[in-house]
Amino acid sequence: MHNPEHSYKIIVMGGSAGSFSVVSGILSKLDPNFKIPIILSLHRLKHVRSGLSEGLSLNSKIKVVEPNDKEKIEPNRVYLAPSNYHMFIEIDGSIALSTEESHNHSRPSIDYTLMSAAYVYREKALGILLTGANKDGAKGLKSIADNRGYTIVQDPVTCDIDTMPKSALQLFCPDEILSPSEIVQFLNSLQP
């Protein structure tokens, strides 16, 4: 279970079909001073480079950016994986992009981002898997759990499409299964 004294250095949120409105809702209700960097790996159209970060920025209380490769991860920022790139976290805490092969028909792949966060941040990583229509993200979230990080799966009952959270639930038992409003509550409770 979550220990309120435990501090996280990174939050990775992954989602696919139906996740835009969930993420947008979460970002709109976070404390504007929310310090922990949020890494977003959302499935998106490969050929549409703009629009998603702008859409999320409309209601977000925190600045949303699509980072360049090798950009340093800073607090109080949301980093959205650019279209047609995988997004990893480098060991020095910077963003590493890649055009390697699609994974689960996806680039960005949620698994890849979660796995790299698990490797770099271990028990300081918090992974959240939202609504989506394929199994990408399930193995990545499990790797966060395997490295003693904290894991949250969106309650399938609240999902537009529940394939993604159900895939994770078939693979392992996450720390929490929460609705979007409970996820917001949880995240805001992490603030000192």
Partner: protein
């Protein structure tokens, strides 16, 4: 295969003893997953087995090939190619002999360029050159092979770029292999050399180096991009990936041709205004 940092350092140190295998300045996150991928491909479970196998020429050639990340598709970022066509290809500096795509891993970038130049009736004017240290990659590019699994997205990109459906005119299929037609492959040269160590092609008016430096660490990325930039003719152009940055040390002197597509121009030589 789960490789730790010490494993990676041991492996890259052993690899660097061989020609064209210095990966010591690559990004650690890339090395971790790419080496794990290669270990899986060869069903290798121990670091020592991999290092021992490096003594075999064939194995090294396979490893060099696999360390390159294939281009994801032809005409990736159609807006980039449109900008290149409209802003650059008819404005290459006087004296340009070469257009160069360094470290081309699978041909899609150079073939896209060759098709555009062909459609502009400009192909014969320049040596359309790509380079790669791998013998088998260069052989594949000379043959005009492209990855069949990228074909649909390449075709869609071409349609987005040209607003017409002529892509199939450049493609032929032979025994399950997808090849570019000869009128395109005959324009393309691939030479086997490493971009840092070997002599670079002179009289180069355009260098396309998109999404290659993302696999390097910061130091190597800056060093390589600076060397490529210095290799350009005055007034020449360099293009990098849309999520990459040129080194700060040369950023001030660059002329930005297209900010969002990351196309830059090297300034023309300044004429001496002091006359005797």
């Amino acid at each position: 295969m789960n490789l730790g940092i010490n494993d990676i350092r041991e492996i890259t140190s052993a690899m660097s003893a061989y020609t064209n295998m210095d990966y010591t300045e690559y990004a650690l996150s890339f090395l971790k997953r790419r080496l794990a991928y290669i270990f899986d491909q060869f069903n290798i479970r121990k670091v020592g087995t991999f290092i021992e196998a490096l003594s075999k020429n064939d194995f090294r050639e396979h490893v060099i090939k696999l360390m390159f990340v294939e281009n994801s598709e032809m005409f990736r970022d159609p807006a980039f190619w449109r900008s290149l066509r409209d802003n650059v290809l008819l404005n290459l500096p006087e004296g340009t002999q070469n257009i160069w795509v360094p470290d081309e891993p699978s041909g899609e970038e150079i073939f896209s360029l060759a098709i555009i130049l062909h459609e502009m009736n400009q192909a014969g004017k320049y040596n359309i050159l790509c380079s790669n240290p791998s013998t088998s990659i260069c052989a594949s590019i000379r043959e005009g092979r492209i990855n069949a699994s990228h074909l649909d997205v390449s075709q869609t990109n071409y349609k987005r770029l040209e607003n017409r459906d002529r892509f199939n005119e450049y493609i032929k299929k032979e025994n399950g292999t997808v090849l570019l037609t000869e009128n395109i492959t005959s324009q393309v040269n691939c030479e086997e050399f490493d971009i840092i160590k070997n002599n670079k092609p002179d009289k180069t008016g355009l260098i396309i180096f998109r999404n290659k430096a993302i696999y390097y660490n910061t130091k190597k990325a800056e060093k390589t991009l600076t060397e490529l930039y210095n290799n350009l003719l005055p007034g020449g152009y360099i293009a990098i990936g849309v999520k990459e940055k040129m080194p700060l040390s040369i950023n001030d002197e660059l002329i930005v041709v297209d900010k969002s597509e990351k196309i830059y121009q090297k300034p023309q030589l300044k004429r001496n205004s002091h006359h005797a």
